[in-house]
Structures are given as C-alpha cells and as structure tokens.
C-alpha cells in the first residue's frame, strides 16, 4: 500500500513537536465532519518568523503525520516560506496524483503524495494545513493575495 509509506507511519507514531504549548498568538480548532477527526493548533509568531506550531491531533495516521510534517516544516521558518510550503502541499494533495510534490519545498511532505489518489483521504491530510492557515489569519499575519491557501 503506497499510501502508508514508512515515513508516514513514523510521523504518525512519533508526531514531531506535538502537544499544546504556551505562549501562542492564535489557537484554532478544526474538525473533519465526516469522520470526527479534530485538531487543535496554536501558533506563535516572532516578527516574520513562525516561532512555534504546537498541536493536539485526534485522527488517523494520515492526519497526524500531516500535522507532524507541518510542524517540522514550518517551525523557525519565515512566514513567506511557510506559506509557500503550505501552498505546495495543497497543490500536491489536490492534484489527484499529477503533482508528486517538491521535496525541496515540502520536505517529508512528499511522502503524502500518494494521498492525492484517495479523494476521501485528502481532507485528512489537509486538516492541519487548513488549521495552520486559519491560525495565521487569526493571528493577523499578512498573507499575500496571490496565495490560494
């Protein structure tokens, strides 16, 4: 099953940077109404940099791995880079398999490329990233207009 790459199982079993930490600038709670999966996610910004992403994720291996990869990829990065990563993940996940993902931009996120072939699971993989974008908005971060996230 190409869906469950080692890397994904790895992330889902030992999610990076998991848990909810203080201080934070915004906290959001997102659910997937079809399966009841939930994520609570906090962000802490330091100027233009994402200083911390902390989260509590209740869900399937794909949604937990995705949140873990998110935290790993965006923490400590400038906002613009974090947004580029988010946009790349979204593009890859909604490509129905056409976009294999760019490892330079999404890092371990490429391991989730297989999810795009399972439309019902795309929402699982996107859950954390949507929460992240929402949290940025709530924290008042400036998200450039071109971004489709």
């Amino acid at each position: 099953m190409d869906l469950y790459q080692e890397l994904i199982l790895e992330h889902s079993k030992r999610p990076r940077r998991a848990g909810l930490r203080e201080p934070f600038d915004a906290e959001v709670h997102h659910v997937n109404p079809t399966c009841g999966d939930e994520v609570t996610l906090r962000i802490r910004l330091a100027g233009d940099v994402v200083e911390d992403v902390s989260y509590d994720s209740l869900g399937c291996s794909i949604s937990i791995a995705s949140a873990s990869i998110l935290a790993e990829q965006v923490t400590g990065r400038p906002l613009t880079e974090a947004l580029r990563t988010t946009e790349s993940m979204r593009a890859m996940l909604t490509s129905k398999g056409a976009d294999p993902g760019d490892e330079d931009i999404v890092g371990d996120g490429v391991a989730l490329a297989g999810v795009a072939k399972y439309p019902a699971r795309v929402k699982c993989a996107l859950l954390g990233w949507m929460a992240f974008t929402d949290a940025l908005n709530q924290a008042g971060a400036e998200i450039p207009k071109e971004s489709h996230v």
Partner: protein, 428 residues
Amino acid sequence: MPSHDTSARDLAPEELAALRADFPILTRTVRNGNPLVYLDSGATSHKPVAVLDAERDFYTRLNSAVHRGAHQLSEEGTEAYEDARARIGRFVGAPAQEIVFTKNATESLNLAAYAFSNAPLGSRLRLGPGDEVLITEMEHHANLVPWQELCRRTGATLRWVPVTDEGRLDLDALPALLTERTKVFAFTHASNVLGTVNPVRRLADAGHAVGATVVLDACQSVPHLPVDVADLGVDLLAFSGHKMLGPMGIGVLWGRSGLLEEMPAFLTGGSMIETVRMEGSTYAAPPQRFEAGVPVAAQAVGLAAAVDYLERIGMDRVTAHEHALTERLLAGLAERSWVRVVGPTDLEDRGGTVAFVVEGVHAHDVGQVLDDSGVAVRVGHHCAWPLHRRFGIAATTRATLAVYTTPDEIDTMLTALDRVPEVFGLAS
C-alpha cells in the same frame, strides 16, 4: 422569447427525427392505437436514453452513499456526484458551490421560504409582522402556497402583482406594491399557463432597490431558454430536473453564495452537519448544509446527462425550435373562432406554453376528445388556480412543447381539436 434567440437555426426535420429516436416513449401508441402526441412536457418532459443510461450506469458501477465513505465505490460515486453539480451549475452560469440539490423545485422554493422563518430572531432574514412578501397572481402553487405559509408562521403580509387581461404582469401596479416593507419578492420566469416570459432583470432590480431578496421560479424557463443566473440578477432560483429531460426526484436551488451562507438549515440530519452533540449541533457550509440525507447521486448524474444532451443541441436552437412551433400553434388556434387563448397571442416574450378555452365546452371534455385521438394535453387549473380565477374560468386546456415536439404533432392536435364542436354539438 428573448430577442437574442432569433438568430439560432430551427431544428431540421432529419435532426428532429434523429433526436426523437432517443426518446423510446415517443413511439408508443395510446387510445385506439393512435401514436402518442405528447403536448404535456410542461408537466413533465420525457427523458432521452442517455439520461436513463447515465442513471443505470451509476447504479451498476458506482452505487454508494456519496460523501459518506472512504472506499473506492464511494470515492468514485462522490466524484460523479460533484462532477454532475459542476456541469449543472455551468448550464445556468453558476459555480458548483452555489448549486443545492433538492428533490424538486417545490422543495427548493420551500427551502427558500422556510429560511425566512427558521432564521434566528434578530437576523436580517427573519420575517415578522409588518414585513411583506410580494408574489404575483400568475404563480404556480409551488411559488405561492409556501409564501402564504411563511406569512402564517411569521405574521408577515402577502401581497401580489396583478395580471393584465393580456396575461402580462401589471407593472404599473408595482411601485405601490414593492416598498421598503417588501422583504421577499418571488415570481416566475415563465408562466406555466400563459406562456408569458417576465422581465426578470427589471423586476429583480426593482426588488433590490427596496432591499428585497429576489426569488425566481425558473421551472418553465431553464428547460426552454438559455438561462444565466448572473444576467438575471436574482438571489435565488429554483428548477426541477424532470421538466428538462432529467429524472424525477431531483431539483435545484441556486443561490448567491453570500445569501446561501446566511440561510439557516431546513431539512436536518446526516451529511449537513459540522458537529453534533446531544446538547446542540453546528452545520456545514452550503451547499452541503441544505442536502440532508444520503444524496440523490443517481438522479444528479442523470440530470447532468440531460444538461449535456441539451447543450449538444444548443439552448438557442431549443428556443428557436419551440418558438417556431408556438407560432404554428397560435396561428392554428387563431383560425378557430370558437377557441380563446388565455395569455399573450403574440410571440414577444412568450414561451411554448399555450392555454386556451373552447367556449361552451369544459376543458376536461376538450382534453378527453384530444386524448381519444392520442393527443396528451393537460386540463384543469395547472396548479395556478388564482390565475384561472383572475380570468373568471375554472379550467383551461394547455398544450406545452419541448425540444422533441414536431410541427406534425401541432397539426394533429389542431385536427383533433376540430372534433370538439362536433362531439358537443357546437355551431362551429
């Protein structure tokens, strides 16, 4: 009919013959072995094989509870369902997320009407005493009774635009009726009795000028005219699949996204929720918010096939074809002094719905004589009883056309009609 259609080509006899072969029921015979002449498409249209096949294909390949499963069948079924939504949306110029699937136009219009009583107190949408709902005297019961019931529930007042002797809306009466008290203005695009096509844009603009939400009953226009929701300028628009070559059991409510977003849930249950706790629930964004229960995916796919079918012909040509037939029918009726058409007798802003009375003979009897010759028309008040009362008649005989109607069928009907004076001993 709108002037932009007049340039389109009518259907050539070979084209029409080829097209009719797609509708197996048209080869049926009825009373006395007569071939069926179906002039009741305004009640429900026939369905081409492509539509029946699309539904069957769904059931035999993709059948599943769409949006409710993660297995392959449900994934493929969901994709087919959402693809159907997008195609049906494109057909009326709307993005997919503004298309709500219902069971028919009646449910669509009830969904709209209940929004104004289900909205929480204090919401912009919630009606109360002092507020008014404006409709017209030519409405089908489906765009009339739900508003009466809304007024009963909320204490709001129902008003209506009268109809002229020619069968047009009396626009002179509009300014007095459409006021800042008017919260909803609901009217039909094309009358299912008179054939009248109303000046939607003008009415919608007038409605918006006083801040009303504008609701259009497009049941009798979407199957016959090119319809673009952006051009019309209304806020909500309802139509039924079964009148436009699609299956029974599916209808559409289109709504401006901003408005759908504001509207409260109507039917509640599975698939329309965000979170559910015993203590209370929150609901999904539109269109899901309004689609409670396992979706009617087979019917959506069938309706999308109907839309494809109409698009392959071209809606301009559908209009042109029906326009030519309407002209033939009105001319034939005009030759018969004992027939009186109820509705416009000119072709301007008029569709292929022709209601008439034979002086001294009840519509039921007229219809029976036509039926005896294999000609299927509708008789009665056609769910527009107040409109009939306005014209002082209990019932009319109504012929309604569709893309598969032929000039010969019009002639057959006219010939059959000539038996009426004979049978009932009128001096003709």
